[in-house]
């Protein structure tokens, strides 16, 4: 190589090399050159109102997924298109949620991820269907969500029908192992679609495992006082309390029963809103031995552990809202990758045919039938010594269930 070429006017060879490099750069998606048009994703959650904590956790999970996709180069099949969040707040109100979907449609979103409460998911998916917007349900348990024939709706996690069926199996196994000490139960549930639907299924299934349902008690959100409910439970003397509530009422009910020393063989919630690490740490005496059947990440998956560490490093709890919203966004990103387009119809078709397995839930590859992923499974959990242990299914169990729980001194 001559000195001339290094400090003087560029040689023909250098010009050719630079031209080749430029051509190579331009042909590489997302690096240099014209940026691909970003894909807008609507993140719809109740970040204010009575379930604001869950909404904020969901939004966090969804945003982490978007950041991760963008950091990895965006959607490669679309020239490295970045995901751009369009944030919406349902305020835990149906009409506000619907209005937010209208706004997101105006903003040109390719898909929506949301939105925690079943009642609001039902309404907002319907509105999204009007515009053909694909909608990935992160949290929202009602079976109605995926049984109305809406082609735009996809849910990775199981609905409450499957959760109740599996919870009943878990409870039967745990009760059987303890010599069938539980023969009766009282169900306490919140009054919206989530709690009412879950309670109805529980009341239907419990007699099948020889547990008589003595009473079903419904309460509003918010409820100030559970003294009377505790009184009623004490007078009915059930062996089990089955719960289905959002966070505040879950904690208040558990605390009231503990303060009033109501003896039960077990307290078992299905998708219990307040069952998390914080509850276990803040009120250890109240939380000890409470059980919940809920969504749980695959504990041995290194991605799950890395994500858990990352979220906890942000001084935030790794709750189910975080990882369900995270995985719902990643599902959409995978759909975009397969569709190679933000076109709503192509994206819907790609999601419907999805066989995505790059998640960290114990689900296997996705297989959607009427928008419901069939591989979704939850787990029975129990708080033991301030930590959360998986007690069912036995192949994933990290501890044996403590049942019946010790009586008050």
């Amino acid at each position: 190589m001559s000195r001339k070429t290094s400090i003087g006017a560029p040689s023909r060879r250098q010009i050719l090399a630079a031209g080749a490099a430029l051509a190579g750069t331009l042909s590489t998606p997302g690096i240099g050159g014209a940026q691909a048009r970003p894909v807008r994703i609507g993140l719809l959650h109740p970040v204010t109102g009575f379930v604001a904590y869950s909404g904020a956790q969901s939004r966090l999970g969804a945003q982490l997924a978007i950041d991760e996709v963008n950091a990895a180069g965006g959607i490669r099949s679309m020239g490295g298109a970045r995901l751009e969040p369009v944030l919406g707040d349902t305020q835990a109100k149906v009409e506000v949620g619907v209005a937010e979907v209208e706004k997101m449609n105006e903003a040109g979103v390719a898909a929506i991820v949301g939105c925690f409460q079943s009642a609001i998911v039902l309404a907002t998916t319907q509105t999204a269907a009007k515009y053909g917007i694909p909608y990935a349900v992160d949290v929202g348990a009602s079976d109605l969500i995926t049984t109305r024939g809406l082609k735009n709706v996809f849910r990775l996690k199981p609905g409450f029908g499957k959760c109740v069926d599996e919870a009943i199996k878990a409870l039967d196994g745990i009760n059987g192992g303890a010599g069938r000490v539980a023969k009766s139960a009282v169900i306490v549930h919140e009054s919206s679609e989530f709690g009412t639907g879950t309670a109805k299924l529980l009341a239907d299934r419990l007699p099948g495992i020889n547990i008589e349902v003595k009473e079903v008690i419904k309460h509003d959100n918010p409820t100030r006082n559970f003294d009377n409910v505790a009184l009623r439970i004490r007078s009915l003397r059930p062996d089990m309390l089955m719960m289905s509530n959002y966070q505040n009422e879950y904690v208040l009910l558990a605390r009231t029963l503990h303060q009033q020393r109501v003896d039960l063989a077990g307290m078992f919630s299905v998708l219990g809103g307040g069952f998390n690490y914080k509850f276990a740490q803040d009120l250890p005496d109240v939380a000890e031995h409470m059980m919940d059947y809920n969504h749980w990440f695959a504990p041995t998956n290194p991605k799950a552990q890395a994500m858990k560490k990352r979220v906890e490093g942000m001084n935030t709890l790794f709750t189910f809202e975080v990882y369900l919203a995270y995985n719902a966004v990643k599902l959409i990103a995978d759909g975009l990758e397969r569709a190679g387009s933000a076109d709503k119809e192509r994206l819907t078709a790609a999601l419907a045919a999805s066989t995505w397995s790059d998640h960290f839930m114990p689900y296997g590859p996705t297989r959607f039938v009427d928008g419901q992923n069939l591989g979704g499974e939850a787990a029975a959990l129990q708080i033991q010594k301030g930590d959360i242990e998986v007690v069912y299914p036995t192949q994933f169990a990290s501890a044996k269930a403590v049942f019946p729980k010790p009586k008050f001194g």
Partner: protein, 290 residues
């Protein structure tokens, strides 16, 4: 048919819950009686006081019952300053402006709480407030028995203060005839601010008594607002005695309603009282007396 034991326990639980309603409503009725406005920021300020109790316990390990005098005093100062430097200053002497300012204040406080404290449910674990007290056939949590006794004692002390002290007399004078009070040399603006401060101090005390058995989140104060308004309407707007009787009546109605009609439908009793009082005695039970 429910047994006597259950009904008795329901009444006892209703009285225990009513004690907190009394404390929240006393502040509201005092503010109404003197300033002639509904304090829409009442629920938000209660929530703020509950956060203060939470942080004192969680960060400094201060027992909520020991914190009560300090939290009540700080709440008084906060309420006094809020009226003197914000509400009074921007109201320009118009009651309807005060109404709007307190409403705006409520929105600002709620959203600031959401921003700084997040929407998470916060609880404190006060071990010595756990356990139950047997009252005949009823079991009441110790935290609620303490709240009941403390609320009654605080109401009695406040009643004595209003009845006997010079400031109490000035408050009553301003409540009855503010122009006349001004003419005899009472600093009406100071009395307004003191009354607002006392109302908020009641919330501070209520927060200390509530936290051992309740939780706090940015929306938790609102759970008590409707109850407090109903209590004030039942007892008579501005009536101290009315808030006392009304709070217990609402507590018992809510409790028995829950027992006989179910936890959800039982709440109808409170709404029924509200409507009946407005229809039959719009001034409330003690509304005519001042």
């Amino acid at each position: 048919m429910l047994s006597f034991d259950i009904v008795f326990a329901g009444i006892v639980n209703g009285l225990a819950a009513g004690a907190i309603y009394v404390l929240v409503a006393v502040g509201l009725t005092l503010i109404y009686g003197v300033l002639h406005i509904i304090n829409f920021a009442h629920g938000s300020l209660l929530m703020l006081a509950m956060y203060a109790v939470f942080f004192l316990f969680a960060r400094a390990g201060i027992d909520p019952y020991l914190a009560l005098p300090g939290v009540a005093a700080a709440s008084f100062v906060f309420g006094y300053a809020l009226y003197r430097f914000l509400i009074g200053r921007f109201a320009h002497g118009k009651d309807e402006n005060i109404l709007l300012i307190t409403l705006g204040l409520s929105i600002v406080i709620d959203n600031l709480a959401l921003f700084f404290f997040t929407g998470d449910t916060q609880t404190i674990d006060v071990r010595h407030a756990g356990g139950i007290v047997e009252i005949g056939p009823a079991f009441v949590s110790r935290a609620k028995v303490i709240a009941f006794g403390a609320a009654l004692a605080l109401c009695a002390a406040l009643g004595l203060y209003i009845a006997r002290s010079d400031m109490g007399k000035a408050i009553r004078a301003v409540a009855r005839e503010r122009q006349g009070a001004r003419l005899v040399g009472i600093d009406v603006e100071h009395v307004f601010a003191v009354s607002y401060g006392i109302g908020i101090a009641c919330l501070g005390a209520a927060a200390c008594l509530l936290m051992p058995s309740f939780y706090v989140s940015p929306s938790s104060g609102h759970a008590f607002v409707l109850i407090a308004f109903t209590t004030v309407v039942l007892g008579g707007m501005g009536s101290f005695l009315g808030a006392l009787v009304g709070g217990f009546a609402i507590g018992i109605t809510e409790s028995l309603g829950g027992l006989f009609l179910g936890e959800q439908l039982g709440q109808i009793g409170i709404s029924a009282i509200f409507i009946l009082i407005l229809l039959l005695r719009p001034t409330g039970l003690f509304g005519g007396r001042r």
